[in-house]
């Protein structure tokens, strides 16, 4: 514990920490905001405001299209190339494509015209791109997507990527700031240092040490702490209303990476006892061994997979429930405004309750992920105890 805490620094006083976090945020926003300007050198683009194509479905402005709850929910849970705040306020994110002609970078505002998914012809390479259901395809000059052609490699800064970078910035600045407090004279901890210290000690004493033992816990603590705070903060980011509806940990693509890290670390650190127990479980009759060994081998892969699905499913399910309450209001509102308001009162109350539950789930899922990761690491580095 001392080694780890000495490794952390001290706690910045709150004013300068606020300044650093604020400046990082402004920098990130500036980069995002300037990217359309930078790539507008290609051609004159009309920077129209972006609203997702379901905007017409959301607001009852006498539109013909019926409100489709399934579509709305799926749209809000999926990733996007822009961050949509309220109404028509959206922030377009840079689209980065890798084609045979090299990298193409432009603002995603080019891909949406009049709040509809549209196409964009890049002046530098002459390729046209069309966005359909948030997937970018090559398009011909009329703007029809060419589905037969393999789509360009999409390396854009999407909403989830931006969210993750944002969380990364916040975490790095915050924790380096706190680490600095530990350097030099040891004053009594105050403020954020108390919270972070108790969380770190909680993970260390309740999660890492029981599974790994006091000696080996320090080796895995950096990973466990990083993953814990990352998952927790990503979950919380997705819960902030009106902030673009991030769903970072609710996407399989991101949780599979986290689970892959756990798998890789377990495999690398697996000692003889670990593999021995998998391929030749001790204390089991021979006939049952034949059944058990394939199950154990499958378990090596299934355990990280289940980690991935558990996290994704819990977070996505929470978002879907909250969105379902929203769509309940909108569905009833389609019938009549009075019905909409009436249902709205109850739905908002339930929504607030669900938000509280989701706050608990955000922390709990991070804790469960880290707990199971520590258990798997402990399994992998187990000593002979028979």
């Amino acid at each position: 514990m001392h080694r780890f805490l000495v490794g952390l620094g001290g706690l910045l006083n709150r004013k300068s920490m606020r300044k650093i976090v604020f400046s990082a945020f402004i920098t990130a926003l500036t980069i995002i905001g300037l990217s359309p300007v930078v790539v507008a050198q290609d051609e004159a683009v009309q920077h129209e405001e972006i609203a997702h194509s379901e905007a017409e479905n959301h607001e009852e402005h006498g539109h013909e299209s019926k409100f489709n709850p399934g579509e709305m929910i799926m749209h809000h849970v999926a990733d996007a190339h822009f961050i949509h705040f309220i109404g028509n306020i959206s922030v377009p994110l840079p689209v980065i494509l890798y084609t045979e002609q090299g990298f193409e970078v432009f603002s995603s505002s080019n891909l949406y015209k009049d709040h509809q998914e549209s196409f964009y012809t890049s002046a530098s390479t002459g390729n046209s791109y069309r966005i359909e259901n948030e997937k970018i395809y090559f398009a011909d000059l009329d703007g029809n997507a060419l589905h037969e052609v393999a789509p360009p490699m999409d390396l854009s800064i999407t909403k989830s990527v931006f969210g993750m970078l944002f969380i990364m910035f916040i975490m790095v600045f915050f924790f380096i700031g706190i680490a600095r407090k530990y350097k030099g004279a040891s004053a009594a901890p105050k403020g954020a240092q108390n919270v972070i210290e108790s969380l770190i000690l909680f993970i260390k004493n309740e999660v890492a040490v029981p599974s790994l033992g006091a000696k080996k816990a320090d080796k895995f603590m950096p990973f466990l702490l990083t993953v814990f705070f990352f998952i927790w903060m990503c979950n919380m980011l997705g819960l902030i209303p009106f902030l673009g509806g991030f769903n970072i940990t609710g996407t399989l693509a991101i949780t599979i990476v986290l689970a892959a890290f756990v798998f890789i670390i377990t495999t690398i650190n697996g000692n003889g006892h670990y593999w021995g127990h998998i391929f030749w479980p001790p204390g089991v009759p021979l006939l049952i061994k034949f059944i058990l060994v394939p199950i154990e081998i499958a378990g090596v892969f299934i355990k990280p997979l289940v980690l991935m699905v558990r996290l994704t499913a819990n977070i996505t399910a929470g978002h879907i429930i909250i969105l379902a309450f929203v769509s309940l209001v909108l569905l009833f509102g389609q019938q009549s405004a009075v019905a909409g308001y009436g249902v709205g009162v109850g739905a908002v109350i339930f929504m607030i309750l669900m938000f509280f539950i989701e706050l608990l789930v955000a922390f709990l899922q991070a804790y469960v992920f880290v707990l199971l990761a520590a258990l798997y690491f402990g399994d992998a580095t187990q000593e002979a105890h028979h």
């Binding site: 699905v309 558990r310 499913a313 399910a317 804790y367």
Partner: protein, 80 residues
């Protein structure tokens, strides 16, 4: 879409709904049992309430993970 396609889609989504309902039953039974045993244990030994509560929450999260696994599959079926 032909009639057959429409019927298949309806059946598909109907089964997905049934699957989600079964997942909810599973989660309810599982977490109910966990909560029941935890409350019983707390009644027998009130000073262990803190430990029991923490472990109950963890076990509930794990069981819920399994149920939500089924929900994800049903969602994938229902939405294509």
């Amino acid at each position: 879409m032909s009639v057959m396609d429409v019927i298949l889609l309806a059946v598909e989504q109907g089964y997905a709904g049934i699957g989600a309902g079964l997942a909810a039953i599973g989660a309810g039974i599982g977490i109910g049992r966990i909560g029941g045993s935890a409350l019983e244990a707390m009644a027998r030994q009130p000073e262990a309430t803190g430990d029991l509560r923490a472990n109950m929450i963890v076990a509930a999260a794990l069981v819920e993970g399994v149920a939500l696994f089924a929900v994800i599959i049903c969602l994938l079926v229902a939405l294509g």
